[in-house]
Amino acid sequence: MTAVSPLIVEGLSFRYRSRELPAIQDINLTLAPSQVVLLAGASGCGKTTLIRCINGLIPRSYKGELTGKVLLQGQEVTELPLARISQLVGTVLQDPERQILGSVVMNEVAFGLENLGWERAEIRQTVDETLARLKISHLRDRQTHSLSGGEKQKVALAGVLAMRPNILVLDEPLASLDPASAQEALDLVRTLADEGMTVLMVEHRVEDVLRIQPERVLFMQDGRIRFDGLPGEIQKNVDYREVKLPAHMILAAAREDPVPPEIKPLLAAASSSVQTPLVQFKDVTFGYESGLEVLHGINLEINRGDVIAVLGPNGAGKTTLVKHAIGLLKPTGGQVLVNGRDTHQLSVAEIASTLGYVFQSPSHMLFAPTVREELAFGPTNLKHSPELIGEEVSQAVEIVNLAGYEETPPLSMSFGQQKRVSIAAILAMRSRILVMDEPTAGQDYKNYMAFMNSILQLPTFEAILFITHDIDLAVIFSNRVLMVNQGQVVADGAPAEVLRDQDRLRANRLVPTSLLQANLDYFPMTQKFYSAEGLAHRVPAGG
């Protein structure tokens, strides 16, 4: 081979100064130009550390023990100046919110070029070209904080692409995007690779990435690369429980495994015979101070036994809607009733004993010195007895798979673990209704499947509602789907009814998944939606 490889990793290991065990061990990797390489793995497998070694943040910003080397265009990263690295490797972080610096889109995209000291005219031209290429020229003069999640992701990407790197490293770029935006982002990645860029994409949503036909797939586990091969070989080499594979692969693989236990959700609801709604929205309208109305005439009941998935595009008003149920927002028109009482007359703390609300971002609530104290905070505020609190805390810890971490400071944990602590903190309150805003964001597939399963089987909840971008969560776990768009409920019904209409899905920036398709195909036989593992044992092989 005559051309120098854009990226070579040789015998790379790294241990953070504060940790005992290495985060990555003996990584070897050579990338060819013009390829999309998918790097999959559960959280904590070392993918973020590998990225930091490639983009030079290790050893510059993160100290520790580094052995082996990383070569960019044949030059060692540790010996290159930052300005040079940033032109060789562009990194887009998982959460665009953590990456965007500029207050206006134009400035954000120009930031790197300004730092490199380019001429103004040249910067303007490059910025305009980059925006046009990503089809976001219309955002040029918008303030960055007013953009939707999908728009932010594209702007963050533009800021990196403007520097014209040879290698693009994407760390879970799909996490905050609605399915249609995710699809657009992936198509764009494919185009960039076809034009000569090398793309290393870290993502556990393997199914979505396979659609753009990556040239190569890597699978990491415990800091090592366990599989390095072609997409066609995944089914045999990658555990379908660890990352999200297409339904047909799971169907084939799971048939050999024992039948998964059937989920029987919401036992508490079954035992209750009272049929008054738990939460009622009556003609609810809501607008912020600026006078702009965000919700328009919402009518909705949450009843015992409901497991509701709220779907809809970025910025549709889902979170605004749900915040009304716990009284954090009060309607400007109409009424919200919780247990028959108007939220205008209730404090949030009073509602909290009936309705538990898990916020999107765990970092806004964790404060205690240990996980145990963190989890005891809610029940203590609700004046539960010490014995009951002890029981509630240990049960919550079990459900989110954090047993053994009771004495760990939540603030020292990884993002995925923190998210699970934040969910456990609400579970420990044993409210009758559980509301979760994107419970799976930033979580790996294996973990969220496990805790969603456990939460649904808890004996305490009478109803559950969760906001999600993941249609498969709705397919597997919900018995009712609420589609929200532009501040209105556009569809409300059983998953099989609401999700069947493909035109409606597309109109709401949703994309049918292979699991949804498989369930729809087999519906005449099953009469119910199942997970891929569940389907595997209910439908004929090869069907």
Binding site: E114, N115, S347, A352, G356, F359, S361, H364, M365, F367
Partner: protein
């Protein structure tokens, strides 16, 4: 992620100037205001403030919260100085008693008494006007300065690249901190935490505030680490930086700067000549006789 203040392009006096010119004028104005204790001088400066506020094009509704907060704060402290007479003592040596109001009850042998003197009244009034000028001129800035220009404004005022960008981030940190605080408060209220019900001594109160203070602080620290990483990844600080935005002084900007500097120079001169000291009008003194 950093959010910005509620800036909007408006047709207004303040926005018709180059931001650097306005910042220089603002600094001169602040220094001038601080120099004087004479109500007549303060009234003249207050007129400048009033003109700026009324021509700012910012609707009262947009600034309502800031006004209520600062207004409440200023009035409370002016009232406090008036009731206790504290603070003014350095400015005047003798006081002219207008009236003395004594309560018709005693607390443990102490009879609450309010002595109203000409000096106390003037001190409180002057203080009120003075602080209102300072506060009003300050609140207008975040509403009127284009966030895209923060960096270049400070760079244009002579700060080095790194410091100027740092100032840009700092300006935006304040509203971002406010947003984080609100999010944390909401998240804790959803866990049954009631800020209103906190009681106990100072130590106990601080302890009970931990659920608010800790996440907000940690978020700020982690947030700044993210910012540093993001800046490093895009080659910040590797050499002299190009600032995409450009600012140009026009005639009116030079005039404003000249006016500001002249105002300050004149004020320094006057105050060196002992003008503008604490002043009590004759009619108040007459009341005291």
């Amino acid at each position: 992620m950093l959010v910005t203040w509620r800036y909007k392009p408006r047709k207004s006096l303040i926005q018709s100037f180059d931001p650097r010119a306005w910042i220089i004028f603002y600094a001169c104005f602040l220094a001038t205001t601080v120099l004087f204790w004479d109500f007549r001088y303060q009234a003249a400066l207050f007129i400048i403030t009033l003109i700026t506020v009324l021509t700012s094009g910012i609707k009262f509704n947009e600034m309502k919260r800031a006004w209520i907060f600062i207004g409440g704060f200023v009035i409370f402290f002016s009232l406090l100085t008036f009731l206790t007479g504290r603070g003014g003592v350095e400015l005047y040596k003798e006081e002219h008693l207008i009236t003395r109001l004594a309560a018709n009850f005693t607390i443990l042998g102490w009879r609450p008494t309010l002595t109203i003197t000409a000096e106390k009244i003037m001190y409180a009034v002057t203080m009120l006007v003075r602080v209102f000028s300072l506060a009003s001129m300050t609140i207008l800035i975040p509403y009127s300065l284009n966030p895209a220009h923060y960096g270049i404004t400070f760079r244009g005022l002579g700060l080095p690249d790194k410091v100027a960008y740092g100032m840009d981030l700092t300006m935006r940190f304040i509203p971002s901190f406010g947003r984080d605080f609100m999010l944390t408060r909401d998240a804790q209220r959803a866990r049954g935490y009631e800020l209103e019900k906190i009681t106990g001594g100072l130590f106990a109160t601080v302890r009970k505030l931990a659920p608010l203070i800790v996440p907000v602080t940690i978020h700020a620290i982690v947030g700044s680490e993210d910012i540093i990483d993001a800046m490093d990844l895009r080659a910040f600080g590797v050499g002299p930086r190009t600032w995409l935005e450009q600012l140009k002084y026009r005639k009116r900007d030079r005039l404003l700067i000249a006016f500001g500097i002249l105002l300050l120079a004149l004020s320094v001169g006057l105050s060196l000549l002992a003008f503008g000291k604490f002043w009590v009008p004759q009619f108040l003194l007459a009341l005291a006789r």
